[in-house]
Amino acid sequence: MAPFKLSVIIVEDHSIIVEGLSSIINNADELELSGAFSTAEEAMEFLETNTADILLLDISLPAMSDIEMCRLVKQKNKKLKIIALTNHTERSVINDMLTNGADGYLLKNTSKNDLIESIFQVLDNKFILQSELQKVLFSNTQTSNTLPRLTTREKEILLLVSNGATTAAIASQLYISSQTVETHRRNLMQKFEVNNSAALIKKAVEQGFL
């Protein structure tokens, strides 16, 4: 019916998933499965001589690092849209993939409709994350407060420093080593973005810590 179909290739080492994916793709009118490979190298070889529109890429393949693969493929086939298809929900993994050339990110337990829709979105240069992943990426991000966050110990040390206590005195009072006190002091200065104790106290007072 359709004279032109979008070509899809899969890199995936689980046969069950390949089976599931291929049936979904083949049942879609506008899509056509051009190849399924169990390793990244095979897919790269295929792409040397053929072209494809969509690559469904599994993460945590054996051999070649998936991130590396993603980058290489994207480098060589600028038009090829890559959708990462994985079981990983860690934010760092998602970020890694998206910054290394992946155009989309899907979990393997995605529904058929989501998959098809995602493919077209990606082709349209749009992408909507699954709600589960959205939660991971955007919820509970670190609020970038203007005020530095201090631990209880740091607050204690800040107070003692402001009272003029020496490192040795602080160490003996808090039952910690002088080395530890020095580290805390340095961390405090880093947090307040200052270079010395006097400036530290001044800034801490300004920001209401003392």
Binding site: N27, S60, N87, H88, N109, V136, Q142, R153, S177, T183
Partner: protein, 650 residues
């Protein structure tokens, strides 16, 4: 003859000098008329102090002529001065002046008593009295032939105090006094220096002062001794002017004595006799027996020189019989001289008589002197002997004590050292055993941990990729197959399958986080915080200067596990709304802080309720040779501080 002459010469000048000192020290004026007018003043005076002072002065004036009367007056004055310490001090001073000529010790004591009282008063007059007391003490010292002390007291006590009082004339007088013993001992340059100094001082105060006369005469005498007759002449000429100004001064007579000495030395005998006659005229006018005596002796010496033995003999006889206050030494000399003169005259009988007298007198005198000398030497010897014995005894005792203490000290140090080394060795061997045990423990833990993590990693991968993949595939296939016949039961089953997959992912991730292996500790921890956060609990994190990528995978995994356990505890038990993870690093030290605002736990019960989770943390911290500080109070959250050393063999 020459030798004897020199001998006589010295004798003469010696007693002449002490005479001069007496006159200067006593600063005597004419006698009776002065005391009479003072008595008149005394009768008119009002007030005890003024009366007492006048009584003292009357006593002082009488001291030369009537000692008993003088004592009475001064004691009367002391009675009046009872209530006034200052006046008392003056009284003691005059008492000292009264005593000093015949009772040296009493004199000295009185002056010292006076000075003790004067020291509390800082007026010019008080200083003057103190200065005078000291100069009188110095004179007493000189009486006792202690020239050194005499000079010392004058220079260091009397002169400074006189300067303080502002009485320059007195300072000048004292310098003259300092010069006298130097002249006496033929230290002539020094003597001339002090006399000149005296003149320099007086010149600024009063160029017409009597002191010039004395100083010029003494300088001239010194130059005579030095045989520098040109200089002697110069000073004699300078002195002459003053003899006209002060004809009644003792120094005027002295002038003639020195002048005759000068002429005799230059063999101008007639001029010498002339000078002596002038001196004698003046001395007789002044009724001064000492000076007459001196002048007569000089005259006899000149006659001897002229071989005019008769005149010489007559002069000596006049000396002996004239009642001029001769002392034993003089008498001895005169006997000897008479024997000599009679011999020269050929009168051997007379000569023998005088010689026998001389020998007898000399023997008794020598015996007296010898006795005194023996007593003195004996006392000195005894004293030195005793001192030596004492020194010997005390040094022996000291030696013994030193020996005893040194041996005690040595023994003590040795035992301390022994104990120290024994303990050191014991501690060292104990430490070795301990460290061996520790090493074994570490090796065991390491093996266990490594095995555990390896197994976990394998399991996690199998679960995630194997079972997880299969379940995912099942789900894809199922949704595909069932897409036409969507019923609520089917949807529910698919959703359950979804949850199963999610749960499986969670388990696998907990077992071995993918990010830890792929991207390192910080990323894994960030993921962990994020994945453990939910609507109720917000977990923030910060990493300061951390370089965990430098650690071995194993250390990273252990640190991850520690934090994972801590955060899991918070999620499960703390009921906190906020938790905070901070990691920081300083060289080899890695610091972990985990805090929450949850319900906290009671630390007293903490030991018994301490779960497997905490034990796991502790064993991992121990494995990394770290320290853990766990701080929690009910209602106040929990704070965990962990410090790990990451260098070494891990």
């Amino acid at each position: 003859m020459q030798i004897r002459n020199a001998h006589i010469n010295k004798q003469v000048t010696n007693w002449l000098l002490s005479l001069v000192i007496l006159i200067t020290a006593h600063d005597a004026i004419g006698q009776d008329t002065a005391s009479d007018s003072l008595l008149l003043l005394y009768k008119k005076a009002s007030g005890d102090t003024a009366k007492a002072r006048l009584l003292f002065e009357i006593g002082d004036h009488l001291s030369a002529t009537d000692t008993a009367k003088a004592i009475r007056y001064i004691q009367q004055g002391m009675q009046l001065a009872k209530s006034n310490r200052y006046t008392q001090a003056i009284g003691h001073f005059y008492q000292g002046r009264l005593y000093m000529d015949y009772n040296y010790d009493a004199g000295k004591a009185a002056f010292k008593k006076a000075n003790n009282l004067f020291e509390k008063f800082s007026s010019a007059e008080s200083y003057l009295y103190q200065s005078r007391s000291w100069s009188n003490i110095a004179v007493i010292e000189q009486y006792q032939n202690n020239d050194k002390e005499y000079t010392n007291i004058l220079l260091n006590k009397a002169i400074p105090l006189a300067l303080k009082s502002g009485d320059k004339v007195r300072v000048a007088g004292y310098y003259t006094l300092v010069g006298l013993p130097f002249m006496n001992n033929r230290n002539l340059q020094k003597a001339i220096y002090y006399f000149s100094k005296s003149n320099d001082i007086i010149r600024n105060v009063n160029p017409e002062n009597e002191h010039f006369l004395g100083n010029y005469v003494n300088i001239a005498r010194s130059y005579c001794f030095l045989k520098d007759y040109n200089s002697a002449k110069k000073y004699l000429d300078s002195a002459y002017r003053y003899t006209q100004l002060f004809p009644y001064s003792g120094y005027s007579i002295d002038y003639y004595i020195v002048k005759s000495m000068y002429h005799i030395d230059l063999k101008e005998t007639e001029k010498g006799i002339n000078s002596l006659d002038n001196g004698l005229k003046l001395a007789r006018k002044n009724k001064n027996p000492f000076e007459i005596r001196e002048l007569l002796y000089q005259k006899a010496r000149i006659y001897d020189e002229q071989k005019n033995y008769i005149e010489a003999k007559n002069t000596i006889q006049e000396l002996l019989n004239g009642g001029y206050g001769l002392v034993d030494g003089d008498r001895k000399q005169l006997y000897h001289d008479l024997a000599y003169l009679h011999e020269q005259l050929g009168d051997t009988k007379e000569a023998y008589k005088w010689l026998a007298k001389y020998t007898e007198f000399a023997d008794s005198l020598t015996a007296k002197n010898n006795k005194l000398e023996f007593a003195r030497l004996e006392a000195k010897y005894n004293y030195e002997k005793k001192e030596k014995e004492l020194l010997l005894v005390s040094s022996k005792e000291k030696m013994q004590r030193i020996l005893m203490w040194t041996s005690f000290g040595g023994l003590f140090t040795a035992s301390l050292l022994f104990m120290y080394f024994y303990r050191l060795r014991k501690a060292k061997s104990e430490q070795q055993v301990q460290s061996l045990k520790q090493q074994q423990q570490i090796a065991l833990t390491q093996a266990l941990l490594q095995g555990e993590e390896k197994e976990r990693a394998r399991l996690a991968r199998d679960l995630h990729d194997g079972l997880g993949g299969m379940l995912a595939g099942v789900k894809i296939n199922l949704t595909h197959a069932l897409q036409e016949i969507s019923t609520p039961q089917v949807d529910k089953a698919i959703s359950q399958l979804d949850h199963s997959i999610t749960e499986l992912r969670r388990i696998a991730r907990n077992m071995m986080p993918e990010a830890l292996l792929r991207s390192g500790l910080e990323t894994a921890l960030a993921d962990l915080c994020q994945s453990l956060s939910n609507e109720k609990l917000k977990i923030c994190h910060s990493f300061i200067n951390t370089h965990a990528e430098a650690f071995s995978k194993q250390v990273q995994i252990i640190i991850f596990r520690i934090i994972q356990e801590l955060l899991t505890n918070i999620v499960k038990h703390a009921e906190a709304s906020e938790a905070y993870l901070q990691c920081s690093q300083d060289g080899a030290y890695f610091y972990i802080t985990v805090e929450d605002n949850g319900k906290g736990i009671n630390q007293s019960g903490y030991g018994s309720r301490r779960g497997i989770g905490l034990d796991n943390i502790q064993s991992r911290v121990d494995f990394l040779k770290g320290k853990m500080d766990f701080n929690s109070e009910p209602g106040k959250g929990t704070i965990t501080n962990i410090e790990i050393r990451t260098d070494g063999t891990l």
